[in-house]
């Protein structure tokens, strides 16, 4: 174990190589996932939850006569590894062969080792987090604040019996917070590999200012309006495309909107979307859960759908190259891009507002769900800051509205893409700019 409490590359490779070497299976893949994190949660401007955790688990994929089984365990201390392997093999023998399984992937090169951990973030103490939260809360003044500050470090190692060796470690600090001001609320979110780069005082002041701007909301008749979407709203739509549309398995099964539209223009020509775990604007590891190196994958180029994500199994089925987007194996979900970026434009958010004669400014969405995946239809609510823009100025706050839109149609109706993209999202972080669109359909409001 390193000083950060997680196994380094030598220890991880040693453990996994021992597992793979001992395995009686035809092929074996060992994946070590280790995490150490702390989270300080606050509401009403006091800390109400404060937790630290550490865990490490082994994911085994064994192949016996074309039969594939997966086994996950975190019993790494007191468990005899031969017994674990024997159990995995016994399970595999009870499963019919998988004709779509092409075998474990071979290494395209030598071992991969990546270090992206900032020690001060990986080792941040509860006291350090609480101090940071105090700075945030103090900057909010009298307005009650709620949120969570999380710091931690994550390590992933993959070894398989065909020679794949990959190890990566990265740190992450994130803040999500909402400040309340009467009926209004202001939202901020920040993610970085380095806690010191999160300016908690500035973020607190920003959240409080946003809350003040939102404190006297009025109703707006539902309808179709021009809308300026801030990065959290854009990022969430991109995340849903990742899961349902850029998923190679969904394409193979005809469930993706791109099943019949790959190669066609599906968005405005100014839209560029790609996945790149090595881009410094995201926080990623440069290989997937099969240990294969990641590289840039273009998804939408000049508005044309040009790519989707594959892992070894779905790439084999589709007869296309593997793009190295495997999630933990085996799984019924399929592959997906997990480090997406959308190319920003030139004008700032303020300039997008100034260019809007009448429309809405939306901070973020809440509880978005897919209504029809093949049509990329989603529904959800606006939250924590919805504003009416008239004559190029924000003129009043609005109560939250329900929307029903097709993501592809929203991105086809782009008025302008803004500058100053940033990393947003909670479960799936995406680099997204603000986007102004000509048409966005709201179907309901909460009139009290």
């Amino acid at each position: 174990m390193s000083r950060e409490g997680l196994p380094g590359p030598d220890a991880a490779f040693h453990l996994l190589e021992e597992v793979v070497d001992r395995s009686p299976a035809d092929q074996t893949e060992g994946v070590l996932v280790a995490r150490r994190a702390g989270l300080t949660r606050f509401a009403g401007s006091r800390i109400h939850q404060n937790v630290v955790e550490e865990d490490a688990h082994l994911l085994l994929r064994v192949v016996v006569d074309g039969r594939v089984a997966g086994l996950r365990t975190n019993r790494l201390v007191h468990t005899e590894m031969n017994q674990v392997l024997a159990r995995a093999v016994a399970i595999a023998r009870q499963i019919p062969p998988d004709p779509d399984f092409p075998g474990l992937p071979a290494p395209p090169g030598g071992p991969l080792v990546y270090e992206g951990s900032v020690p001060a973030t990986a080792e941040a103490t509860p006291h350090r987090r609480a101090e940071a939260v105090r700075h945030f809360v103090q900057a909010c003044g009298e307005s009650p604040a709620a949120g969570a500050l999380e710091t931690g470090v994550f390590a992933l190692a993959v070894v398989n019996s065909r020679g794949v060796r990959a190890y990566g470690r990265r740190s992450r600090a994130s803040l999500v917070a909402v400040v309340q001001e009467g009926e209004g609320s202001g939202y901020v979110q920040a993610i970085d590999a380095d806690l010191d780069r999160l300016d908690l005082t500035s973020l607190g002041a920003l959240a409080a200012a946003r809350a003040r701007a939102a404190r006297h909301p009025v109703d707006l008749e539902p309808g179709t309006y021009p809308v300026i979407l801030e990065p959290p709203a854009v990022g969430l739509m991109l995340a849903f495309l990742a899961m349902t549309t850029f998923n190679g398995k969904a394409v193979l099964e005809g469930r993706s909107a791109l099943a019949t539209r790959l190669g066609q223009r599906v968005m405005d020509p100014r839209v560029q979307i790609w996945d790149d775990a090595t881009d410094p604007r995201t926080i990623g590891l440069p290989f997937d859960f099969e240990g294969l190196p990641k590289r840039r994958l273009d998804l939408v180029r000049e508005g044309v759908a040009v790519g989707v994500a594959y892992d070894s199994r779905t790439a084999h089925r589709a007869g296309v190259p593997n793009t190295a987007h495997a999630l933990p194996q085996p799984n019924p979900f399929g592959p997906m891009p997990t480090h997406m970026l959308m190319a920003p434009g030139r004008r700032s958010l303020e300039e997008l507002v100034a260019a809007t004669e009448r429309g809405l400014l939306v901070t973020r969405f809440h509880y978005v769900r897919v209504v029809h995946p093949a049509r990329t239809l989603i529904t959800g609510m606006t939250r924590d800051g919805t504003f009416l823009v008239e004559g190029g100025r924000i003129v009043r706050a609005l109560r939250n509205l329900r929307f029903n839109v097709s993501i592809l149609e929203v991105f086809a109706a782009v008025e302008e893409i803004g500058a100053n993209g940033r990393l947003v999202g909670e479960e799936l972080a995406v680099f997204a700019p603000p986007v102004a669109v000509r048409r966005f359909t709201f179907t309901g409001l909460t009139p009290f």
Partner: protein, 483 residues
């Protein structure tokens, strides 16, 4: 093999107390999961999971601290206890009211739900053959392109020890499954599931729960309905009478009642994440939630339901709590910390998803009380309206007021009979207005507890298993349409 955790929970409690913890609770959780996914007759993912660890929660000087370890070693659990104390100390860096707990007599007990057929004793070949039979049958129906079958099993051993003297051991076994057919034609995609969407239906019990579902016996109808939906017109837009089947009624309860009555959410502790509630503390005891026909209970003692246990994760015995009586909100879900703010004792709704998570206020089995009649009686009693079945999408605002729910399938109702099939049905409403329009609830014959194994809440994220006693219901004057 012996129990590697023997004596370690007690050791962690002692270490936490010795370090200054005023209240210390320890949970050792050892869980096993078996998950089977079959597609078009062939296994797609067969995965097992063994997970275990120990979590220590300490209350000190009015602040909470939590730490955990997966290592069954004396020094590791002592270290976790000391770290929890350090975290609790840091919690008091911000001013605020000190945490106090409602009193609770320490219980020393053991509890396990009944299991007739242990899923871990059932040969995998038998399970996979059942799913293969069901999916192959669905695939034979013209138009069906993807046929899926699922089974999931969880076995969780929990050991709870506290500095107040509680010593509780529980073993909870949960089982379930389902099937789904995806029909695709000319860019149209329709999905139909049985007995519920999102991997099926689940409860506390063994493999007998899967056998009772008769997945193979329902394959043909499920697939035929998916194929029929390809040709069906969209559900027309209207304000009309809406009948929900039991599955969708369960989802409606979960989203618009179950989450809204979590007292921590009402107090704002989820404000930045899952959201708050339209209910205020002053509403408890008087808020008109719905019509006189609305009677909601939260019953953690219900045999076989997915939210059933012997004791919650603060050592409070499982209880049956009246939530809504004749449409009036009587109680909300509490833990020991929040109950004290109401001058009450906890009603036993503190639940943690695993050893490395703290207990939050979570649903148990939140559901309706049955009234009378069957689904067919409700249809026969309806002159004009729509019947919607099986949840497809769900969205509700951060105060649990404005919702839009989509279903897999709908039928027109005319003069008391089912008419045309509709695809893509959705309905929307505002929670108290919607529940005020409830005018009929079916009887016990069609009531059962539906299991939701994917209820998310909290940071770090937790997934809870909840149950929802529900049957067919009828609502008047609802906005329906199609998406």
């Amino acid at each position: 093999m012996g129990d590697p955790w023997e004596g370690l929970a007690e050791r962690a409690v002692d270490a936490g107390v010795a370090a200054g913890g005023e209240y210390v609770e320890v949970r050792v959780v050892r869980s096993q999961t078996l998950s089977l996914s079959v597609k078009n007759g062939r296994p797609e993912a067969v995965v097992t999971d063994d997970d275990e660890g120990l979590g220590v929660r300490v209350l000190m000087d009015g602040g909470w601290g939590f730490a955990c370890t997966p290592r069954p070693e004396p020094e590791a659990v002592t270290g976790a206890a000391l770290q929890a104390v350090e975290v609790a100390r840091a919690s008091r860096l911000l001013d605020g009211p000190a945490v106090r707990l409602a009193p609770q007599e320490p219980v020393r007990a053991a509890w396990a739900n009944p299991v007739r057929r242990d899923p871990w004793e059932v040969p995998l070949e038998e399970m996979l053959a059942l799913l293969a039979e069901a999916t192959e049958a669905m695939l034979r129906v013209p138009g069906v392109r993807v046929a899926e079958g699922f089974m999931d099993f969880w076995r969780t051993a929990k050991r709870f020890r506290s500095s107040e003297g509680a010593a509780i051991d529980q073993l909870i076994t949960e089982s379930g499954g389902g099937i789904a057919a995806v029909a695709v034609h000319d860019g149209e995609v329709q999905r139909r599931s049985y007995p519920a969407s999102f991997r099926g239906d689940f409860g506390t019990g063994g493999y007998e729960l899967v056998e009772a579902l008769d997945l193979a016996g329902h394959a043909q109808q499920t697939a035929e309905e998916a194929a029929a939906l390809l040709l069906a017109p969209p559900c027309p837009t209207a304000v009309t009478t809406l009948i929900l089947d039991g599955d969708q009624t369960a989802l409606q309860i979960h989203e618009s009642v179950g989450h809204a009555i979590e007292f921590d959410r009402i107090l704002g502790t989820e404000a930045a994440y899952a959201g708050t509630s339209f209910i205020t503390p002053g509403d408890i005891g008087s808020l008109r939630y719905g019509s006189e026909a609305m009677h909601i209970i939260a019953d953690a003692t219900l045999p076989g339901a997915l939210g059933t246990f012997g004791f919650d994760d603060e050592g409070v015995p499982a209880q049956r709590v009246v939530i809504v009586e004749c449409g009036v909100l009587r109680h909300v879900l509490t833990n020991r910390e929040t109950a004290l703010l109401l001058g009450q004792r906890s009603n036993g709704a503190a639940r943690a998803s695993s050893w490395n998570r703290i207990p939050l206020v979570r649903m148990t089995n939140v559901g309706l009380l049955p009234d009378s009649g069957t689904l067919e009686d409700l249809i026969a009693d309806t002159d004009e309206g729509v019947l919607m079945c099986t949840n497809k999408s769900w969205s509700i605002d951060d105060r649990r007021l404005n919702f839009q729910f989509g279903c897999e399938i709908a039928w027109e109702i005319r003069r008391g009979r089912r008419g045309r099939l509709f695809k893509q049905p959705v309905y929307s409403g505002i929670t108290p207005q919607f529940w005020a329009s409830l005018d009929r609830v079916a009887g016990p014959a069609e009531f059962r507890a539906r299991g939701t194994p994917n209820c998310g809440k909290g940071q770090p994220a937790q997934v809870a298993h909840t149950g929802h006693p529900a049957g067919p219901t009828r609502f008047r004057g609802v906005q329906v349409g199609s998406r």
